[in-house]
Each structure stands twice: as C-alpha cells, then as structure tokens.
C-alpha cells in the first residue's frame, strides 16, 4: 500500500484541515447562537465562554492552514505545465481536465470557483473569532453585531463546503500525484 507525497499533502489539505474545519463549523454556529442570542436564555458560564473562544481560535488556524496549503503546496502541482509533447498528462491535473471537453468544466467552473471562494472562509471566521474574543457574552447585547457574526460564520461554512466539495470531486477526476512514494504497508502475495 503506497501513496505519493503529493497525494499525502492533498490529503492533509483536504481531509485534515478542510474537513476538520467543516466539521467544526456546525458546532461554532450552534454555540455562537446559543451563547449570544436571546435574553431569556441563561448566561454562558465563564468556562463555556472560554471554551468557545479556544474553539474559534482553533477554527481560525484550521481555515488558514487549509487555504495556505491549498494555494502554496497543492495548487502548484495541480496547475503545473507539462513539457512540450507530453502524451501522458496524469501528473498534470489541470491540463488533463482541460484536454477533454467532458472534463474541462471541472477546471473552468469547479477549480476557478473553489480557488477563490475558499478564501472567504478564513477571512470570515477570523472576524467572527476576533469579535467573540473581544465581546464574549456581551455580544448578546449587540443584536446587529451578533447577527453579522452569525451570517459571516454561515458564509464561511458555505464557502468551505463549496471548496471542499469541488476539491474532492476534482481530485477524483484528476488526482494530484507525483513526488516521492511513501510505503504504508506491504501486502501479502497471492
């Protein structure tokens, strides 16, 4: 069982940082709503408030790690130009997708959208985390600020979802491969 180093980095980017971020989004939305909304709801304890602050900071780290590894580690492999007269485009995913009208949309729509919309996630969640770090439970007394934070967090979730979905589908059509080979285990001979 082997894996290429490029494949491993794609896994770290998508399944590590990206998927963890997506999983964390729903929890952040629920906790932000619960702690900051409704005057009749009981106030969050200092421990609950501290937990949400750490949780949001972890999301900020995950979001930036996902877009930075995507743009500066994996994307250069995806868009690498093949040498002239290269027949096998398996190591050049963008060119492989563009070489066939049946798959070119995965790049011209999917990747073109993904590579830009993904950046809305870290900007939005960094803002949401910074506002909650500064205001904490007092955010429940700033109705419009609270609504804006929830909307930005929701859009962050949506942007990360679009990026994650297209990332997975594009990598299924034209996987990022190459680099060294990592041997995970040696199978039995049949």
């Amino acid at each position: 069982m082997e894996m290429s180093t490029h494949g491993l980095w794609t896994l770290i980017h998508g399944m590590g940082f990206g998927a963890l971020y997506l999983l964390a989004c729903s929890g952040a939305l629920i906790e932000l709503y619960r702690i900051t909304t409704g005057s009749s709801a009981p106030l969050a304890t200092p421990a609950q408030e501290r937990f949400l602050k750490i949780y949001l900071l972890a999301m900020v780290v995950l979001a930036w790690a996902a877009v930075l590894t995507g743009a500066y580690v994996v994307y250069p492999w995806y868009r690498a130009a093949p040498p002239p007269a290269t027949a096998n485009l398996a190591l050049y995913p963008q060119r492989l997708l563009m070489s066939n009208p049946a798959t070119s949309g995965w790049h011209s729509l999917g990747m073109e959208w993904k590579e830009h919309v993904a950046w809305l996630a870290p900007i939005s969640i960094t803002m949401a985390a910074s506002v909650f770090l500064r205001y904490g439970r007092d955010l429940r007394n700033h109705r419009q600020l609270r609504s804006a934070v929830l909307c930005f967090t929701l859009v962050s979730f949506l942007a990360a979802g679009i990026a994650g979905l297209f990332g997975a589908l594009i990598n299924k059509q034209a996987p990022v491969q190459g680099g060294g080979t990592i041997s995970l285990s040696v199978g039995d001979e049949k």
């Binding site: 500066y72 830009h116 506002v131 007092d138």
Partner: protein, 115 residues
C-alpha cells in the same frame, strides 16, 4: 457614522460597538476586494501578469495577498477610528453583508464572466 443613542438590547452593552463594527466592515471589504481582484485578473492579461506574485501559484497569489493586505489595513484604520465609539451599526453591518454576498456571487465563474 457615530451615534449617541445605544441600540435596543436586553441589557446595556458594556463595550462600544465600534471595534466590532470595524472587524465586520473590514471583513466585508476584504472579501469584496478578493472577488474584484479575481475578476480583474481574469479579464485583463496585464492585471493577471501583475498579480503573478509567486509563479507556481500564479495570479491567485497576488489576488489573495493584496486582498488580505487591504483587509488588514481597513481593519487597522477602522479599529483605530472607532475603538471607543458607538457607531451606526445597522448601516455598517448591512454594508458588510452586501459586500459579502457580492463577493460570493462574483467568485462564481458564470457571474464573473458577465463582466
């Protein structure tokens, strides 16, 4: 955009809304700048070339670097101006959300291709 009256809320806010408004509006500005730069880079070969800060990543490197710099600069300036103030939060959050929605729309290639 300052106001003297506090917003309607269950309790009196203990912190001014200015710093929060600065963070929200600057995030809207940052996301919108990213979308506009992405469209500009797609439409003009000269801009596309100018945005190619790091060749392996291509114009995406310039689009994101400039958008992040604009976002941080806007945040720093607005926070400095509004740190101790209560501002017209309804107008500011509306503007920020409009910018955010426009950013989402402009990053969608079929809509970006209309320009």
């Amino acid at each position: 955009m300052t106001q003297s009256a506090s917003e309607a809320s269950p309790q009196a806010p203990s912190l001014p809304n200015g710093p929060g408004a600065a963070a929200v509006l600057s995030a809207g500005i940052g996301t919108f700048a990213l979308a506009v730069l992405a469209v500009a880079g797609d439409k003009s070969a000269a801009i596309k070339q100018a945005l190619n800060f790091y060749h392996p990543t291509g114009p995406l490197s310039g689009v994101t670097t400039l958008a992040i710099l604009l976002w941080i600069a806007a945040w720093a300036i607005l926070d400095w101006r509004w740190r101790k103030k209560n501002v017209a939060i309804a107008r500011i959050t509306t503007a920020a959300l409009v910018l955010l929605v426009l950013s989402l729309l402009l990053t969608f290639p079929p809509i970006a291709d209309l320009f």
